[in-house]
Amino acid sequence: MSTLALPRRSEIIRAHQAHGGRIAAVLPIHYPRALLRAFDILPVEVWGPPRIDPSPGAAHLQPYVCSLVRNALAFLLAGELDVADVVIVPHTCDSLQGFASILVDFIQPKQPVLPIYLPRGNRPSDLEFLANEFRALYRALAAITHCTPADAELLASNAREEHADDLLAELHRRRNELAMTQLELYRLIRSREYLPAEMFIEIVGATLHGYSAQGDHPGSPRQNVPIILSGIVPEPMVIFDALAEMRAVVIADDLASCGRRLYPRGTSADPFVRMAERILNAPPDSTRGGAIPERLEHLARLVATTNAKGIVFYDVKFCEPELFYLPTLRQGLQARHIPSTVIEFDLNDAFSQQARTRVEAFIEMLG
């Protein structure tokens, strides 16, 4: 099937509401999907969205807050999140924490706003802390929905999400076998941001099954310069078409919205601990306090296993968790002879001529 036929967010939201389900607007990046689904709440992620009028949001925020948060606030103020029954704000960074405070203290939207605090590490105490955060979220959702799903239901929901994430990982791994463009591939990967797991499983399962033949096709790294794309979110998505025109192919990614959410299966019989394990054992992420040596190792391993020739850090302007560590991270990459370049963008920008020249020059350098 063609990924271009993916259902739209609005259709999915309407269909879910039609059978009595609720909607959660979820801000980036990590949260327990399985927990929400156990309450029949469909998480629909809000990555900005890009290219909207940001001015209503900008009025409440300092100029150095990233465009993702600015746009999200403008979106909410324009009533575009009214469809949601609850807003979930993970404590990804100071900007998002500030966003949650502004909502709770000043704007007070019609829906409840539930923050999730994420630990900055992966020690046993972090696991316990996160599991407790999810227990608190469970209690808050129970108060809103008047439902109290049992452990067995939580574990079943978890199993469904794990299955969907297994397929997501397979999609990442087998990207070169698929007869689809990079843009189509990333639309499919990013459909995890709003599709219910069962629908994602069906669509991705069919895609992987349908395109298992080997051979040359649009995404083949044999004809192109293989690179790794890092950063938060690949917007505007035309960047994938631009890369294809430059004869570059994203052979793997370290994007917070994509490759950093390849959650492995959990092992615990306790549903809350299992959900927490999955997030803490995901690839290292600056927003979860991933240390530089750990991120460096991860990137070097990605480069080595995929034969990527370099890394493009495609970062949102003013994204503090990403940009703060970038110079040291790049120094480490340079010491390992892994070339990299940095492009900063605002969610309301088109893919500019300047950005194109930078990426193109980098590809020429690698090629």
């Binding site: 001529q353 300047q354 020249t357 930078r358 020059a361 980098f362 020429e364 350098m365």
Partner: protein, 255 residues
Amino acid sequence: MTDIRALGIDVGSTTVKIVGVDAAGNLAWHLLEPAEPRVEDQVTRLLDIADREKSSDAKIPLVATGYGRGLVLQATRRVTEITCHARGVYRELRHGGTLVDIGGQDSKVIAIDPQGDVLDFAMNDKCAAGTGRFIENTARRMHVPLEQMGPVALATTAEVLISSTCTVFAESEVISLVAHGAAVEAILRGLHRSLIKRIVAMIRTVGLVSPLMLSGGVAQNPAIRKMLEEETGAPVILPQHPQLMGAYGAALMGL
């Protein structure tokens, strides 16, 4: 009539350059004009001139580079100015090093290895303060001809510190300095210093490998060369036609 085997065209924000190379890769012919608003028409006209100039009727490759490379519909290939400047300068100077290209709208620092390949680069494409536009704007404000900016700045040893890091604010700072009676020469010297300090910060991110080489229109400004040497302690070398290096590199890629 000239023996031209490949053409390179560099469509920049302030000027358009076209270069023809012979079979050995020598710069055989060139034209340089201020950029016109209708780029496609200008390119077509320049290509007609090149067509009349070349000695054979055979169709030859045309490689486009520069900010407007996408608008050169006749191009057989498009390559970024980073790769082209590196190629042109390496062919002319025959060694690697660190190339600084200060253009009208952006500036770049390119590390070139001993084989002529680009090793790394840094670009300032967001802020006019590190580009030729910074000097152009002030020249207009101070009523000093652009080509005199460097010599005037070098005519004194006194120097006024320009603290604004933004072109717009620097302009107001300059006006205020003039109003307070600061000497034009010292202001211009300070202004050049401020631009050079930005370039040096970019050089540091790439890592300085001697010698420093300069290309782009601003390379003709003697104060830029002198201050770059002062700030880095490295000798600065210029190709014969610094402004043509992008187009020259593009033409070489067509061979």
